[in-house]
Symmetry: C2
Amino acid sequence: MADLIPDFYAVIPAGGIGSRLWPLSRADAPKFLHDLTGSGHSLLRDTWDRLEPLAGADRIAVVTGRAHRAAVEAQLPGIDDLNVFLESEPRDSSAAIGLAAAVLVRREPDVIIGSFAADHVIRVPHLFEWAVRQAVATARAGYICTLGIQPSEPSVGFGYIRKGTELVVDGAPEAALVERFVEKPDLETAKAYFADRSYLWNAGMFISRADVLLAELAANEPELHAGLLELAEAWDDRDRRGPAVDRLWPGLKKIAIDYAVAEPAAEKGRLAVVPGHFDWDDVGDFASLAKLNSHGRKNDLAILGPNATILADASSGIVVSQTRRVISLIGVKDIVVVDTDDALLVTTSEHAQRVKGVVDALKIGGHGDVL
Amino acid sequence: MADLIPDFYAVIPAGGIGSRLWPLSRADAPKFLHDLTGSGHSLLRDTWDRLEPLAGADRIAVVTGRAHRAAVEAQLPGIDDLNVFLESEPRDSSAAIGLAAAVLVRREPDVIIGSFAADHVIRVPHLFEWAVRQAVATARAGYICTLGIQPSEPSVGFGYIRKGTELVVDGAPEAALVERFVEKPDLETAKAYFADRSYLWNAGMFISRADVLLAELAANEPELHAGLLELAEAWDDRDRRGPAVDRLWPGLKKIAIDYAVAEPAAEKGRLAVVPGHFDWDDVGDFASLAKLNSHGRKNDLAILGPNATILADASSGIVVSQTRRVISLIGVKDIVVVDTDDALLVTTSEHAQRVKGVVDALKIGGHGDVL
């Protein structure tokens, strides 16, 4: 299991701010740069560390905004300059992953790329490795392959993948076709999915031959595909790369890879899934951050922040402390308190999804300085 | 109504920190120095402004800690240096008011003193004045007189005074004897009191000839009385005053004036009460501060702090902002958020009384710097 996969290249799109984790996550300190698990490392670094035993340090690319270049390189001192793909602005996942595919396939025609979000939490690395190795084997057989997480509870917070016909692929005993994608269900449906076990969480991880992925993109989004090829052609010439991004990137269609690649491929029977048995969370909001850090114990108060001084009396939920202030909580249940130098958020787990609305309101209200 | 009362001297004990309003109130910024009503003035200043039309600026004394001298004088630029009584440490209300009585009676044997807490909120000043004028008339007739607030609701948060036999005192048509004091009642009892209307809130305001008050103190607490006389004898000699405080003050018995004077006087039929029809609140905790500042409207969010930037979505309660941070609240009901530079409190109205416990815990925990 310890061997690198020779034809594998890992791609980490590190783009989203994570607005639902404001004021912790914000434009100049996006979610992927935070340590959200108390591991001592940022989520980006944890992602890198998970992929290094599979791809090797010189075969991990990061696609990120120009503004985050320094922070990303500080987190990943081992990264090759050639593997930092800088966006002039966010253009969603098809452009980000498609660019990496288009550039890498020129360097290495048979390359298999796997894209893994920079801001997810994954535990039990050997189970992650096992799933990726199966997915690479499935990709080698010509499929676009996604990892579907075997649910650990009937969650209503994630979309689902319905597993279909099992595939016979050497090295991938668990691979199956994707029958269909399902939107976030209600609780009753989620319970049925959980019992069924052929429904997996859609974690947005894709592993594919770069040329296969590009062909699918060409079929569904020809203009986007053409733009990416033009970019890739200029990419490995340092003098042409920046101007090409300036010229082409802002015109690329913003579309999630789920719609531009995965769903059309599923309809054609070209999308496979390998179930992942590892712990996974996309840490979508403070409710999930609270759960993640209270280790599933009810009535616990999760505390994030190396300098946190918390005095809690009959309180539960989560406190994120980025200041040195003393924080006292009395009798507040399922509370979310996020204390930063210029902004304070107080809400509850129940309303954690609505944080994005506050961010929008702050934008409109002229408080962009705290976003 | 506009005339000063010539034999009247107002005394303002400005001692308590107001621990239940931590972290707003604290050792170096006690409750009476805060603007808790949005009036633009501190509670101390509001108290002074209420008393000035009755006593005159040169006949209002403040009893406060040495540490607060500068702050008190800054709030009350009109105060005579002779009228600032400095305690070396807090010794409760009998010592504070008794000292003022002992000093003032030497200056003016027939003086009537009235003591009014520095940190209460009173609205409708002409009704306050009318009650004080009646109380002074009652005091002139030899009674120790308290103001009892006519309840505006069946409160369980205050002690009560049962009004007894009506008195016939010129200039005090509402004066009556105090039949007895009652501790904070349960809700059912409070409702009965409210319907009865002979039960008044005990607001701790006492008006009395200084010599009558001292005689009562001498009868009940002879040692305390003797210490106060010794202090008073040295008081008006600036060179002797400070050393006398250092020597005598720390040895004085700590006892509330309710126990050392009011209750014994009531038993002897010497305590009178005049009902006050003004709005009154002792702002005992954040729940009452919230109520005070939401003007009785349910589901309101009261906001205190001149620089507050609050974004509230489906939230009620109170936010006290002493910083320039953006504060966002989402879906938190009856919340109490107090945001200061070095400490943050999050609780609910229901648990507001427990703030004092946090202060005690911080003391024990070595966080005295934020108290």
